[in-house]
């Protein structure tokens, strides 16, 4: 166990460093951030002045070293626009995204578990087909399209919910559903296949033989094991979830870290992008690490493959 954890931590560190180098070099090739600083009509000398002030006149590896040596001490620098410490900026926007992600996850589970179970228990019937259709249909819908449709129906036509924004529980409903619909199909699929697998194992057959009711068998024994693939894959999907969050946050004017990151990429605010990318990577890697740990504890077989 100790070796397993140790190796994972080393990998985690390498992944984070790799990501920071990758994003650093990518930012430098996208374009020249100075173009946004120099106002229209400003004299040409302003270009050089800003390049110096932002440290862009140094070679790229020097710039990276400067960033990295401070970052390990928790100092990610200040935003180029507005001079705010970027760590504060990113941490301030983190909670809305995390809430949204959890709410989306909750919606996905609420849809996926009943449908997935139903499909697994009534395999190859019309019920199964229907559940599969719902899942596949959800997956076939571009997420921003769903978001806009919800706004048109519930905010513009019915006037039941606020079209966008953040703050009250009403604001949560449409974004959470949008993100949930994005996640539900794959979750449902995993629940279904996981349950089908488990239901045919000796272990369940034994439980049945002991005379437990079908409902008890499913609830007590099958679910726990069917959860393993669900947890693993959801962990892996966490990164993708952020992609979904970008769209959801944009459509619903949700003040989260995903839009902050995309906006910073567009404005080439290097310190903000670096900080956000590293922190998000840290979260994703940690989530997966915990998932592995949990799954490893439940099912020792998988540790071999790590």
């Amino acid at each position: 166990m100790k070796r397993f954890v140790g190796r994972q931590v080393v990998q985690l560190a390498i992944v984070i460093v790799g990501i920071s180098i990758l994003s650093f070099s990518i930012l430098h090739v996208i374009g020249d951030p100075v173009v946004l600083f120099v106002q229209e009509g400003a004299p040409k000398e302003e270009h050089e002045r800003f390049r110096k002030l932002l440290g862009l006149d140094q070679p790229v590896y020097v710039q990276y070293w400067r960033f990295a040596s401070r970052a390990v001490q928790g100092d990610f620098g200040k935003s180029w626009y507005g001079d705010m410490p970027v760590l504060d900026l990113v941490m301030e926007r983190m909670p809305p995204t995390i809430y949204l992600t959890f709410a989306g996850l909750a919606v996905a589970l609420l849809i996926a578990f009943p449908l997935g179970t139903l499909a697994a228990l009534r395999r190859h019937t019309i019920v199964d087909t229907f559940c599969t259709m719902v899942a596949v249909g959800g997956q076939a819908m571009p997420i921003f399209w769903l978001g806009i449709m919800l706004i048109i129906i519930f905010a513009v036509q019915l006037r039941l919910l606020p079209a966008s924004g953040y703050g009250t529980w009403q604001h949560f409903l449409m974004p959470a559903f949008t993100l949930g619909a994005f996640l539900a199909p794959i979750t449902m699929r995993l629940v279904r296949s996981g349950l089908i697998d488990v239901m045919s194992t000796e272990y369940i057959k034994t439980a049945r033989a002991k005379g437990l009711g079908e409902r008890m068998v499913v609830a007590k024994h099958a679910f726990r094991n069917a959860c393993i693939p669900v947890i693993t894959v959801l962990g892996l999907q966490f990164g993708q979830l952020l992609g979904g969050a970008v769209v959801t946050e944009t459509v619903f004017a949700w003040p989260g870290v995903a839009t902050l990151t995309v906006e910073a990429i567009r404005n080439q605010d290097f310190p903000v992008v670096q900080c956000a990318v590293v922190l998000l990577a840290l979260i994703i890697v940690t989530v997966n690490f915990i998932v592995d740990l949990v799954v490893g504890l439940i099912d020792p077989r998988v540790r071999v493959g790590a």
């Binding site: 006037r159 966008s164 703050g167 529980w169 949560f172 609830a219 004017a253 906006e263 080439q268």
Partner: protein
């Protein structure tokens, strides 16, 4: 998953759902204004964003401000100004004005403001606006003198671009504090800023000028334009800007809001690489550039694609700018003559070339008009392959680095200076980063125009410059833009021509 876990997940979700918070201000007293992206700072001279200029107008004042009816620059924190000689301006300040923190506004604040902005060791973006100012001197508490580097005809125009900040705050609180805490002399005060979400402003009851009609302003950040419109027609938001011409009917038919359009100080055109910055091209031949101009049915596009929201111009000089010459008549579509000119230039069958395009909120309907313009060029044999770049930084980089030829779509906002020089110098003279045109005759005219203060002589110079640009078909000339605002029916407001929304001019509508 055990039931307990399910409950845990559910209850966490519910806690988040009910973590609510609502403002104390009532809807009737509040204007909700939507913008697409948040400012990064409440210190306007330290910002790169146009939005920061708008924000500055709500909370700060400038020495001079533009009257939206007459479009003339008039007094604000300055009551009068005059040029003592070619390089010295004297400005008299308003008395009895107080900052939000209660301290009085004096000449020392003006000097401190300019000294801070002009300091080359500081990362202030506004420095470029005032590079011609050499020195600011305090004469007495309410008189300031500006020394400039050579004659500076745009001095007064430039005063409208600089908010006045407090010397005391600069000294006591410092730069970092000022980024989040604006202390101005303006009609509203900042109450609360939730980054990337919203700003809440409250009326400054000690304001020296006419007091705003509505007590609160909420500025909401809504990135997607489709969502902004949905908010406006469902009553969540009161004022939105940069509405696409195609969306006007949605707003007008909603019963909840209406649109208001106004000409704005921005002209759109396709720049042509006459100077050969990107390399040789057929467009360096004057006849080819004339043919391109003759191929366009700009009037038809304005009418059918822009719902009439454009003002055809003969060159790139905007009708609202000082020096505009209405006697030059724009090119009219004449495909036969265009083909004839192309043949004379050695291209009887036309030719293929690349045109770079981008989108941006600043030019309404640009994606649609670009497609229509390119189709028109094709009719004369100028077959353009569109190379679309969606991101502004790479696009601007390419333009500035001289890689965007032989043709690209561009528009110019005159950095809000209502003067022909604000486009001619930057976009048409040799060697400027945004200029793809180089002509010694024009250079001489532009340089003459910016080295004298006499308005009449300057106007004559600009008339000559416009004739020259028209005859030489410097670029592919399009139109002056009109901005479209969406405004809630409960409010009285009109879209401003300088694109700077002033919330203190909004009034409740009498029903």
């Amino acid at each position: 998953m055990s039931q307990r876990t399910v409950f845990a997940v559910l209850s966490i979700a519910l806690v988040f759902l009910f973590a609510a918070g609502a403002g104390a201000q009532t809807r009737d007293e509040t204007i909700v204004y939507a913008i697409t992206s948040d400012v990064d700072t409440w210190d306007p001279p330290n910002s790169v964003q146009r939005t920061a200029i708008i924000f500055g107008y709500q909370v700060f004042n400038h020495l001079a401000e533009r009257d939206l009816k007459t479009m003339k620059v008039g007094p604000a924190l300055a009551v009068s100004w005059k040029a003592l000689d070619d390089t010295t301006w004297e400005v008299k300040l308003r008395q009895g004005v107080k900052f939000h923190d209660g301290s009085p506004f004096t000449a020392r604040d003006v000097k401190a403001t300019f000294d801070r902005v002009l300091d080359p060791t500081k990362k202030m973006t506004a420095r470029g606006n005032h590079a011609k100012v050499k020195l600011v001197e305090v004469v007495d508490d309410h008189t300031v003198r500006f020394r400039t580097d050579g004659p500076y005809p745009l001095f007064v125009e430039r005063l409208t671009a600089q908010v006045m900040q407090s010397e005391k705050v600069m000294k006591d609180k410092g730069h970092d504090w000022m980024q989040e805490h604006p202390v101005g002399t303006g009609p509203y005060k900042l109450v609360k800023w939730t980054r990337k979400q919203e700003h809440l402003l409250v009326r400054n009851d000690d304001y020296w000028g006419p007091k705003p009609a509505l007590k609160y302003v909420r500025i909401r950040i809504i990135p997607d334009v489709a969502t902004q419109i949905a908010e406006l027609v469902s009553g969540g938001v009161d004022i939105i800007k940069a509405v696409a011409p195609d969306q006007m009917d949605v707003i007008d038919k909603s019963g909840q809001a209406r649109t208001s359009s106004s000409p704005i100080l921005r002209t759109a055109f396709f720049q042509i690489d006459q100077a050969g910055r990107t390399g040789k091209s057929p467009f360096q031949d004057k006849r080819v550039r004339q043919a391109a101009n003759l191929a366009l049915d700009a009037d038809g596009i304005i009418k059918h694609v822009l719902n009439g929201l454009g003002d055809r111009v003969a060159t790139a000089v905007n009708p609202m700018a000082f020096g505009f010459d209405p006697s030059v008549k724009p090119y009219k579509q004449d495909l036969a003559k265009a083909k004839q000119l192309l043949a004379a230039a050695g291209y009887p069958n036309g030719f293929d070339f690349r045109i770079r395009t981008t989108i941006g909120t600043v030019e309404p309907g640009v994606a649609q008009t670009n497609e229509a313009l390119i189709a028109d060029l094709g009719k004369a044999g100028l077959r353009a392959q569109q190379s679309f770049i969606g991101e502004s930084v790479p696009y601007i980089s390419q333009v500035k680095e001289g890689k965007a030829g032989p043709m690209f779509n561009w528009s110019w906002g005159y950095y809000s200076i209502f003067d022909a020089d604000a486009i001619l110098y930057d976009v048409f003279t040799c060697g400027q980063v945004y200029s793809y045109y180089c002509n010694k005759q024009l250079d001489d005219l532009v340089h003459a125009g910016r080295s004298i203060l006499d308005e009449k002589k300057r106007a004559e110079i600009y008339v000559k410059a416009q004739r020259l640009l028209f005859d030489d078909a410097a670029y592919l000339f399009k139109w002056g833009l009109r901005g479209v605002w969406g405004i809630s029916n409960r409010l009285e407001y009109e879209g401003p021509r300088d694109e700077i929304d002033r919330m203190y001019l909004v009034k409740p509508r009498k029903s």
